[in-house]
Symmetry: D2
Subunit: 390 residues, 4 copies
Amino acid sequence: MRYLTAGESHGPQLTTIIEGLPAQLELLAEDINTELARRQGGYGRGRRMQIEKDQVQITSGVRHGKTTGAPVALVVENKDWTHWTKVMGAEPITEDEEKEVKRKLTRPRPGHADLNGAIKYGHRDMRNVLERSSARETTVRVAAGAVAKKILKTFGIEVAGHVLEIGGVRAVETDYQSVQDLKERSEASQVRCLDDQASEQMIKAIDQAKQDGDSIGGVVEVVVEGVPIGLGSHVQYDRKLDAKIAGAIMSINAFKGVEIGLGFEAARLPGSRVHDEIIWSEESGYSRKTNNLGGFEGGMTNGMPLVVKGVMKPIPTLYKPLQSVDIDTKEPFQASIERSDSCAVPAASVVAEAVVAWEVANALLESFGADRVETISENIRRHNEEAKEF
Amino acid sequence: MRYLTAGESHGPQLTTIIEGLPAQLELLAEDINTELARRQGGYGRGRRMQIEKDQVQITSGVRHGKTTGAPVALVVENKDWTHWTKVMGAEPITEDEEKEVKRKLTRPRPGHADLNGAIKYGHRDMRNVLERSSARETTVRVAAGAVAKKILKTFGIEVAGHVLEIGGVRAVETDYQSVQDLKERSEASQVRCLDDQASEQMIKAIDQAKQDGDSIGGVVEVVVEGVPIGLGSHVQYDRKLDAKIAGAIMSINAFKGVEIGLGFEAARLPGSRVHDEIIWSEESGYSRKTNNLGGFEGGMTNGMPLVVKGVMKPIPTLYKPLQSVDIDTKEPFQASIERSDSCAVPAASVVAEAVVAWEVANALLESFGADRVETISENIRRHNEEAKEF
Amino acid sequence: MRYLTAGESHGPQLTTIIEGLPAQLELLAEDINTELARRQGGYGRGRRMQIEKDQVQITSGVRHGKTTGAPVALVVENKDWTHWTKVMGAEPITEDEEKEVKRKLTRPRPGHADLNGAIKYGHRDMRNVLERSSARETTVRVAAGAVAKKILKTFGIEVAGHVLEIGGVRAVETDYQSVQDLKERSEASQVRCLDDQASEQMIKAIDQAKQDGDSIGGVVEVVVEGVPIGLGSHVQYDRKLDAKIAGAIMSINAFKGVEIGLGFEAARLPGSRVHDEIIWSEESGYSRKTNNLGGFEGGMTNGMPLVVKGVMKPIPTLYKPLQSVDIDTKEPFQASIERSDSCAVPAASVVAEAVVAWEVANALLESFGADRVETISENIRRHNEEAKEF
Amino acid sequence: MRYLTAGESHGPQLTTIIEGLPAQLELLAEDINTELARRQGGYGRGRRMQIEKDQVQITSGVRHGKTTGAPVALVVENKDWTHWTKVMGAEPITEDEEKEVKRKLTRPRPGHADLNGAIKYGHRDMRNVLERSSARETTVRVAAGAVAKKILKTFGIEVAGHVLEIGGVRAVETDYQSVQDLKERSEASQVRCLDDQASEQMIKAIDQAKQDGDSIGGVVEVVVEGVPIGLGSHVQYDRKLDAKIAGAIMSINAFKGVEIGLGFEAARLPGSRVHDEIIWSEESGYSRKTNNLGGFEGGMTNGMPLVVKGVMKPIPTLYKPLQSVDIDTKEPFQASIERSDSCAVPAASVVAEAVVAWEVANALLESFGADRVETISENIRRHNEEAKEF
């Protein structure tokens, strides 16, 4: 599978084309809309999330509720596009109109792609950069991820995410009984956190940040359960699935770190306490006593749940201004504000689920075929049986 | 550029083919051998590092000291191959020979690819997995990285790595005056650590681990200086250079985490203390007061040094045994030992340099052309000038 | 650059996302609509071409008439979608509705993807195949090609196509004075043929085929002029530009052959009459006396015009029926008709231009950078100068 | 699967790394050597083919006669390397040595990559181009193809090639009873032609060309039998298998055209005589009365044998000189001779088999999994059964 996304934050629409989907997959707009709504939720979001309730249109590749194998194009319209047609239109405008439009940006915001993007692509109006570098793009990444989740679910694989840390507040009680339990409890929390007490403190931290005109980041975790043994491969560096997942997580806007399993904690423990001992039973085949390695050995899944963490930096758009320089006048100034979320970590956990789901689904289809659901299902069934009896 | 590697730990040789190199690049076997030697050094390595001093042969793509633009094939012979011809030979062997060979492995080691690799590829002898999943493969990744470093150096870009943490011992004094200083000081330390006091403690920790029959991991950092603004791109998720680097780091054997700039620390600081304020001067153009984001905004380089951290778990092969299960008898056992390094973190920092160098060099050629050095050089010169005057 | 297309023949719209475009490229909907109109023209098209005048919407990546570097999404709506919402909708339908819809296809047409596509993807209703395998998809390939042409034109490279043969009638007078001349004269012909007399005979052949309830194919040629020396590369098999072009031509619906330069004629001539002798002059540098090799040596452009031919088989949908088998009843039947063009060769020449333009533009950006037009332009200028003075 | 090749015509060795092979494939050096010998045979080859009998070394990925799933590296040494160490060595040489070496080439040969390659990569000594652009490289493409053939054979798919035309002499009697028959008869002919009378005339034409100091080209055909229905896909232009095969054929040195099935003949026949009628029987499922489309519909295999033709231009190195220009003096001269085959068409048919086999094997693994032979085999079996009962 592969997918490309297109679309600007204030353009008419966001689009993605997903290519390489198996046929006969049940897929409804609702499957995707549910995820879009989850992405728009979470404590700490600004005004925009309220005005736009994202809805997907499936414009190809699905007929009467099932994929045909043809590329699936998904469209999410930007509801406020009508106010932006002049500013963001594809058509040329006159010089007079240009002055009138008044949305030219010559003041790069620290922490954004404004300045380096402008230099790379030769833009004196940095709106040409920020409209694309905006996290609005993650809308269609979540849409693509929703399709990947549907694939996984079809084969009994579940993906769930939650928030471990926001603005220095760490969740302590993060045990869960099952992925279902994890899902329900994170869904019930305004900050998608399993620890009620931490949730409260996180909300306070968000309120405080908002009050300070500041922003805060955090850590999210994604868990995938039911993954067959042997996705990815140790044989070539670029086929390791943990590496692909790391790249996917880091590609999310504002993410600055990734961990698999213990992650950086592994630097502080002796090997005898890191590696997961192997056990076996007639009923369930091979298993592990622990899951410190987060479901990966040699870049391949080992049958244990995948556990992936990512860190999101605070949103770089602050009321509390940072110093920058106007690219036209070269005058220093205090950086402007384009939008106003003070914390996007809960939403980012949904995006993280999406990108992890994509990589796992993709690896699954590589191993078990990608033509149609029934065949893939049978291939996985036989593989799991063989793995058990290995 | 792209490269593939091939070769087993006890096979005749390791091979890599590097494709897409510019012509007219000065490249000597020595450039590569220096890096191979660095990889083999470092306190805490076992016997094998002593017996094999890796030497590269350049078997194509370089003529009279310069690349021709044709693919470069690099070969590193395994010195002890003569003892392994029967065990690892490509030719079929008789059943009698098979019994004699006595290197069949049916006992998977926790933390290795042995078991999941065997299930994936259908091997009852797990030697067929571990010979390839072995970190011996990083030899040619370092070789490919040496070529990438030569590209970067040719255009004034320097890559350096050092060790921040081993077995829970963290370096405190990690300031350096220049990349040159960083290089010299890390080279001078047996554990590639800038902090002398920490170095000593790390060595002690390694000795202790060895004595305990245990192993320890650690954290390495790679710094790249002199990178032009705008490598990578914000426009599509899979073109973000920080994401590619994250994938590359995670693809190194035993790595479990990656950070860019502040990394996970960014979850604990307010936005006002994370984002790097923009300054400007006539002489040097745009710059930053700090480098918390590690040289990246929007997935693109911003002109500041790239700062990448990675964490390596303890080597999974221990004298202190872990429980596992024989795949033939299904009897539990205490996991066997194939080799005996107790800490490979210093060497891993060299591998990390290599894979980061590769990604940066690749992004550089994508932006500035890849046909020949002179043209690329001129393109970079003009770009840097325009960036300064932007 | 890369692009994906999506969309069905009777779905709501066709979509393409083009990724990797340089910024600052002037691009108007009109640039694309002109090409879409050319594709819809040509003698021999059936009813549909009249009812739908394709119009593109640019929904991202272009602002105020210029590309921003962000992905460009292009949408072409299917005008008759309103009549097909039930038949082709993404939403599930009830069993009753299913019966009512009455467009289920169980009778595969020879020459189409109906049967093998149905078997591959597990469709009992072959509409799920033919809606995507339809040549309607070439609409957005032409759109993508229009963008590629704009790139080429910006750097002084011209692409033109014409028809050499239809239904056994070959053009004899095919000389042209310049690409401009070629364009004008092919545009003036109803069958895009330079030879007036042949044009007339081709039209008669089309009329005759229509009368017979039959269809006819033909041969088209694409010429690209002004191409810098050295696009593509001899160093690796999959970087040869002629190979990529061959793949692109063969990927057009109903194409069964490709030739570069003399093509199959080269099997009948001695080497001394095939290879293009090299000449040199102070004013224009290196050139060739002839262009038998169609502008390629070693898979790279050599500065002469590219000359590419492709053959299109007759459209497989005939009034004159072919034998087939109903997949439900297994009864033989005479294959049904879905549409009614009797010859699509003139249109196919426009598609061929598009796919060739894409490959050349892509190779151009690989050699000269892809960030922004001004830099690429300067890089090409310097390259051409150096080539002249080589 | 993917593979890269490296190596120069007079360098120490040719190398290929093949990545993505399934495990448990039986693979012997002999399987590859047989194909290398076939490539070196054929009437009309010059001296070099006699002095070098190519032998492959498998340096990784195969153990005790079976693939492990790890990358397979193949090496073919150049036997005369000892005479070329100074001329082609990777080490720098002094200026004095440079003069002594005397193999500098400043005179580009028409029909070769010499001049455009030199301009692209900035070489004043065109040996830096021709050593790589030489058809010697096809040695390892044949080696990679031999591995692909072994995959196909393992699953009951056979690949065979033969010569249809040389220097204007066309084979007339080209019927064969089975692929086995085709193989045996082409193998028995010195020019790999099924028609004995044409074979004789071809040999005469080659002798005549040699006597004239000229060279001749020809047309080859590759047939693949036993291919499952549905390899490749109609859903995206770059997934069409016929397109990939066209690219592969065109990427062979000196090839200028490709045809699938009827190829250009399809421009001269009405649709009613081109498309292959569909029949069905209880015993064998769906089949076709004819195979005009060469086994492809909609870019996918349809169960009929694949039939691919390619045209090779005459070898551009002639005793009969062509005009060219010395790049140093700019003086015109008569182009020099580097080697002396007068016809390489029979050998080229072996290369064509190799590249077609690769594409088909690759498509096969994409559809049916690529982890291990047993699973793939079972997947194909089930697919073929379902296809029959569809």
